[in-house]
């Protein structure tokens, strides 16, 4: 089977799905609560209903797995889109300033409303993600404004203004953090470190529509993404309204990333790593790259969360931290390789 053939691609995807199922299996069966595989299965299939086991499986473990896969897939795909339209292999959703914007919004929210929202209803539970979402979208809008030049969106300007806005918002976050009592802040710190500890079905319901609508839109444009990788002149000569399409794709990524970040906090590096791993496995064609990115992203976050949850149990590490520990060296390796090639 040669690399690039249809069979090879199918095989790669198959292996990834298998790995994903494997990971899910481990995440479901391992944890502080000792449960045998049989108990997990009988609980899942509702053959033997016990409240404690139900709680562990359906409330504690399953939502985390689902959120991990969704967030990972979203970030992976958004990463591929961003690297495609900026033609820069080092772009990642972080440069859209969404993580920073959501983080800043969250901290500001805590600063003004800490303790004022009580109860455990929908409103209270969705308050944080809502603020995260709004903050993410606002900061992305800000970057768009800065990156817009004479009616066109230049990739370089986008990258630069993204970095600038992200660091500006980062400073704002630190400012508010210092103004706050450390005690009020410590729970928000979990979120900013990128944790899916608080995963629950409400979060899943709230983020799912974004992914279900936007990912197909992006996938339908995979051919276009291939073309946008060419020089602007060539793209135009092929009759592609480069700016319009680029903006549309960007907006889709913004939506996906905002939805992901709002429930999981700033999990970095996934959007950077997944496209690189995926392109080595299935090549650069986006119709293949995108699904692979989604699967790899999901796999990475799920494994990271599993490691973070079980490695030092009962002490938990945020998944984002595990990803960063794995991702940091990978990032350096990427830059090193880029330098050698240059």
């Amino acid at each position: 089977m040669t690399k690039g053939s249809r069979g090879y691609y199918t095989a790669v995807l198959g292996v990834m799905i298998l790995l994903l199922l494997f990971g899910a299996y481990f995440s479901l069966t391992q944890g502080s609560m000792d449960m045998t595989v049989k108990e997990v299965i009988t609980t899942l299939l509702r053959l033997d209903v016990q409240p404690d086991r139900d709680l562990v499986i359906f409330e504690f473990r399953l939502p985390r797995i689902v959120i991990a896969v969704l967030v990972g897939a979203g970030l992976g795909i958004a990463g591929a889109v961003l690297q495609g339209i900026t033609r820069n292999g080092l772009a990642d959703p972080g440069i859209l300033g969404i993580n920073a914007g959501a983080g800043a919004a969250m901290v500001i929210f805590l600063f003004f409303y800490q303790g004022e929202i009580k109860g455990t209803g929908w409103g209270a539970i969705m308050a944080m993600p809502m603020f995260g979402l709004i903050g993410g979208l606002l900061s992305a809008a800000l970057i768009f404004v800065f990156a817009w030049k004479r009616g066109s969106l230049e990739p370089e300007r986008l990258l630069l203004s993204g970095i600038a806005v992200a660091s500006g918002l980062g400073a704002l976050t630190i400012y508010f953090t210092l103004k706050m009592d450390a005690k009020d802040f410590e729970m928000a710190a979990v979120w900013t470190a990128g944790s899916i500890y608080n995963a629950n079905w409400k979060y899943i319901v709230s983020m799912l529509p974004w992914l279900l609508i936007l990912i197909p839109v992006i996938y339908s444009k995979s051919r276009l993404l291939d073309l946008l990788g060419l020089k602007d002149e060539s793209t135009r000569s092929l009759g592609v309204a480069a700016d319009k399409q680029r903006t549309l794709l960007l907006l889709c990524s913004v939506g996906i990333v905002s939805a992901c970040v709002s429930v999981s906090g700033g999990i970095g590096f996934i959007g950077l790593m997944s496209p690189h791993i995926a392109s080595r496995l299935v090549g650069r064609r986006h119709s293949r790259l995108l699904p692979a990115c989604g699967l790899i992203g999901g796999l990475l976050v799920m494994i990271s969360d599993y490691i973070g949850r079980t490695l030092f149990s009962p002490v938990e590490l945020p998944a984002g931290m595990v990803v960063a520990i794995l991702g940091g060296p990978y990032f350096i390796y990427l830059m090193y390789r880029n330098r050698r090639q240059a």
Partner: protein, 332 residues
Amino acid sequence: MAVILMVGVLSACGSKGEVKDSAGGTKANSTAVTTSAGESKSSGSAESGEMRTITYLDKTYTVPAKAQRIVITGSIESMEDALVLDVTPTGAITVGGKFPSLFTKITEGTVGIGEKTQPDLEGILKLKPDVILASTKFPAETLEKFAKISTTIPVSHISSDWEKNLNLLAELTGKQAQAKQLLEKYKSDLAEVRKTLNPVFKDKKVLAIRIRKGSICIYPQNVFFNPSIYEELGASVPDEVAAAKAQQLISLEKFSEINPDYVFIQFSEDENKETPKAFEELQNNPIWKSVNAVKNGHVYTNLVDPLTQGGTAYSKFAFLEALKNSTLMQAK
């Protein structure tokens, strides 16, 4: 399920504290959880659980008549209360993977259920707690998960609730008498210390600071050890403290501008990991040395364990005790 609800709503102040033990006094696993949203869930199997309700901060919770298996999560405040009342929790918060030495006395046989911010839910569930003492700092979604495990009481992290927090634990564990006695002792001690210190502090600037990440932090009037110093001992509140709405970093220059006459410093290396020498450096700084309190030797460092947060019964008791034994009491 033979769950009998004793709908004798005991007041949170614990004035009325007779708790009838269930027939065998066996541990009760059954819980009828009433979350604030009003949804009702029950988990665990009932052995012989006599239930009662208690009220804390205007909310009513249903707990076993004698809560034996208490899990403390997220609330260092409750850990300190447990220390005061000598209650050994079934599960408790670890710091850096182990129980802080401060809590050695009450953590024998206690199971660690993870750090303050991301407690191990399954670990808590495994302990089959009668009641979970969580923190009001937890986001709603985390509290919701706790509530699915067992009755969850979010313990206030606001220091003015310290008496209520202590009484809550006393009520849960049937130690009201002890709590009452301790509070009375505190109040009489306080009156005594105040008698000596009020004239000392009069017209002087007294400041409590914490060194965090190498910087000087001051706190609002009702946070940290400030209530003890200002409200209870009658020192006048410096403008900067009155103006602070939350933890506030101040520069050394600002600190010397405030020029306090008495300084209480809490410094923990845990909070200054990157700058463990910060305090030493500060002490050698000429600006620091120019401050009245330093010149006159009125700097009191870590009178109580720097892990204590101030504003809990334990912190207050310890702070007062330390004051009683400090040179301040001999001073004129």
